[in-house]
Symmetry: C2
Subunit: 446 residues, 2 copies
């Protein structure tokens, strides 16, 4: 393999970490529309500095940054990443400032280090290593780095629909991945879809004294009843037709599932639970993990939330809820069904605001590129677990018909993506660079 | 009547308003344990300044301030007030600073002006008027001013149980009251009880990525289901035995109810509603107003509540809820029944924190003091509506067996007690002082 390239990576590890810190210091929170222009410019500059041609594509939202180098090779490898991050709230639960990354005990802490700035930077640095060591790239490279992944890639279709030639490649590496709870590296071949909404009920012009709850309608109770109506006590979703059209697992997927160990006991300990949802275990748990859509309350808000008691009848109540979708479901369809469900059940007073949504997508478990990634990983990390899909979401559906993709990355089960104290292991970050070098190497012989 | 006394009141209106402003500038929020010592000292000083003997009674919480003057009269009149206020949140909904009272268009705005510092100050100023004009008081006077009414008077029993002699009087004026939505003065003869709790569910050691909702338990859903289990879509409370022991209306109460007009159309317009709870109207609405217990969500909290979307599975969810109780119910009993209800329905994971609670109490509608107040009001304001009970709560039960009490005050239907922009009409405040002078006068001939 390319020893001068991997040596350069190791010798310059501090420098690449420094680039990552620089990227993480910009709080590019898509949900707040903060820092996105600035971050996209920085990403473009970094791509240019490692020898790529670049272009910044304006959209109705955050720009999409692309970079490419055509070395005339047989195969082309595409990277998908994003430069936006989740909000860092609640700040007081962070042990260090979310936007001032720092290393403690071999881990780098900061919002975005795992999701997804770490993976973005080390992939750029792999190209820098080829360039600085004067090593010929054996495959053509393309980068697509967007800035609204954390709000559902709402404007990414504006880019992808007009640039299907660019996003066509032999294979691609998706944004994230890493070590599981057992320390073994994991690859994800698919992503669930998502349908994210805010539900709001407003029943009075202002908050009133709670004594009048005997005669006035209560927004918070209306919201509770509406939420209760969409999911039963076993988390079965009660919206009419919600499960219609879901594709069953393929035989290859069922085979792949057999090789997976979800390490139930380790997870129970890690997350402080006595049992999984509905007491699921074994195959049932695996099937839910890969195949179940969800209706999850991300946030609930109403009335007084301060210390002690305040006797108020709140005028309004609201809820943020994300539905994870599997293959065969579409957010627009679920949107219609949710509205109908509320109307049919007397909840015409529940307002739905549609924030983001897209369908699920998967790369087949028996695709040749899956083997390439597996061999590349073997040479750096060793064993790898292949998941037919992540339970998480991403706009894979926009790319998947032009390029089969596998998601791997530098995270691990303690990375706390979307939560306080997000972090990565620096050593995994280093080895993830070696793995990309190995993927490029393997791909050149495909 | 005592014309020199009422003339003094009118001539010194600005001075009494100034005293009220001084009292309101201290944010004596019992829920936050703020400013209570300072406010109690100020109230004691004010009582002393108008010629009363005073005592500050320490409790496990805020001090209880008492003041008295025994002029050797046949009758004794007791005032119950409180110097604490509700939290002023959300501050951004106030048009002026909640703790910097100011007059706009004849209304004085500030947290506590209606509930209950206005009523406290003008009653003290009535005594000042007697003193400054050298007018003999024809009744003995007692004041009990506590500092934890807004958190359920949790420590007031420590005072009342040891001072039953002091709280024994021929009659008493309770803290609040004023003009209804039709502009007519209202007197309240009773108060509902209360049982205020926080419900908490914690199912994970930390917030996690919401994609894992397919396999992890969800605290927010558990809370929704638990809340849904305690009240059906018609607001009927489903806790076993919740309605047991409730006393039916007496014949005198049914007669009194007939005289009441709840001005349904005015209220609908004022609060922006198409109909009252469950479409109630007429006698049914009145019966609910005076006789229904409630289970009201005062606040809901879970997960991400900021702008836009954040896909998180929150580890915790909580809810503040107040139950209003009517005669025959006791908070300790409801507490046991609520715990049993949750346990019986599989919600052993819902933690109940009991914040405050006490039973309901009423003065009979045919008590002679009710007529005295009615006549006094007639001479100042004119007509008066007699309500057998307020839908609101207060620790009347601690006093009621030693002193029959009627609640009247300087508020009105726009006073927004417990809400932003709390206010009183200055002219009502002035006339409320005249009315107390008239009550004293009427009482001296009882």
């Amino acid at each position: 393999m390319h020893e001068s390239v991997t040596k350069f990576i190791d010798d310059n590890l501090d420098n690449s970490i420094e680039d990552l810190k620089i990227l993480c210091r910009i709080p590019s929170v898509a949900a707040k529309n903060e820092g996105l222009e600035e971050t996209s410019s920085l990403v473009e500059k970094m791509l240019k500095d490692v020898g790529l041609e670049t272009k910044v594509h304006e959209t109705s939202g955050a720009p999409v940054v692309t970079g490419w180098i055509d070395v005339g090779a047989k195969r082309t490898l595409l990277f998908y990443n994003h430069y936006d991050v989740q909000p860092a709230e609640p700040f007081d639960l962070w042990d260090s400032h979310p936007f001032e990354p720092e290393i403690r005990n071999g881990r780098l802490y900061g919002r975005g280090v795992a999701d997804n700035k770490g993976d973005t930077i080390y992939r750029i640095w792999v190209l820098k290593a080829f360039k600085e060591t004067g090593t010929d790239l054996p495959v053509n490279i393309k980068f697509v780095v967007e800035g609204e992944e954390e709000i559902g890639s709402v404007n990414l279709p504006e880019y992808t629909e007009k640039n299907t030639d660019f996003i066509t490649a032999d294979a691609g590496i998706w944004e994230f991945g890493g070590a599981g709870i057992d320390g073994i590296q994991e690859a994800w071949l698919g992503l669930k879809g998502i349908f994210f909404v805010e539900l709001e009920v407003e029943r009075l012009v202002r908050d009133v004294h709670s004594s009048t709850a005997c005669v006035f309608p209560a927004a918070a109770s209306r919201l509770v009843w509406a939420l209760n109506s969409i999911k039963d006590g076993n988390s079965r979703i009660l919206i009419d037709g919600f499960y219609d059209g879901i594709k069953p697992f393929t035989d290859a997927e069922i085979e792949a599932m057999k090789k997976i160990d979800l390490h139930e006991d380790l997870q129970k300990k890690e997350y402080g639970i006595d049992e999984f949802l509905n007491g699921m275990t074994g195959d049932e748990l695996k099937k839910a993990y890969y195949g179940d859509p969800t209706a999850n309350i991300c946030g609930l808000t109403s009335g007084y939330q301060g210390k002690g008691s305040m006797t108020v009848l709140p005028a309004k109540a609201s809820c943020k809820i994300d539905f994870r979708l599997v293959e065969g479901m579409h957010p627009d369809d679920i949107h219609k069904k949710l509205r109908k469900h509320f109307d049919d059940n007397g909840f015409t007073d529940v307002k739905i605001t549609y924030f983001e949504g897209y369908p699920a997508a998967k790369t087949p478990v028996d695709h040749p590129f899956v083997k390439i990634v597996e061999r590349a990983n073997q040479s750096v990390f060793g064993e790898m677990k292949i998941h037919m899909t992540s339970p998480g979401s991403g706009p894979l559906y926009l790319f998947n018909k032009y390029v089969p993709m596998v998601s791997i990355g530098c995270g691990d089960h303690l990375s706390k993506a979307h939560s306080p104290n997000e972090s990565i292991v620096v050593e995994n970050y280093r080895k993830a660079m070696h793995r990309i070098v190995a993927v490029i190497d393997e791909m050149s012989r495909w």
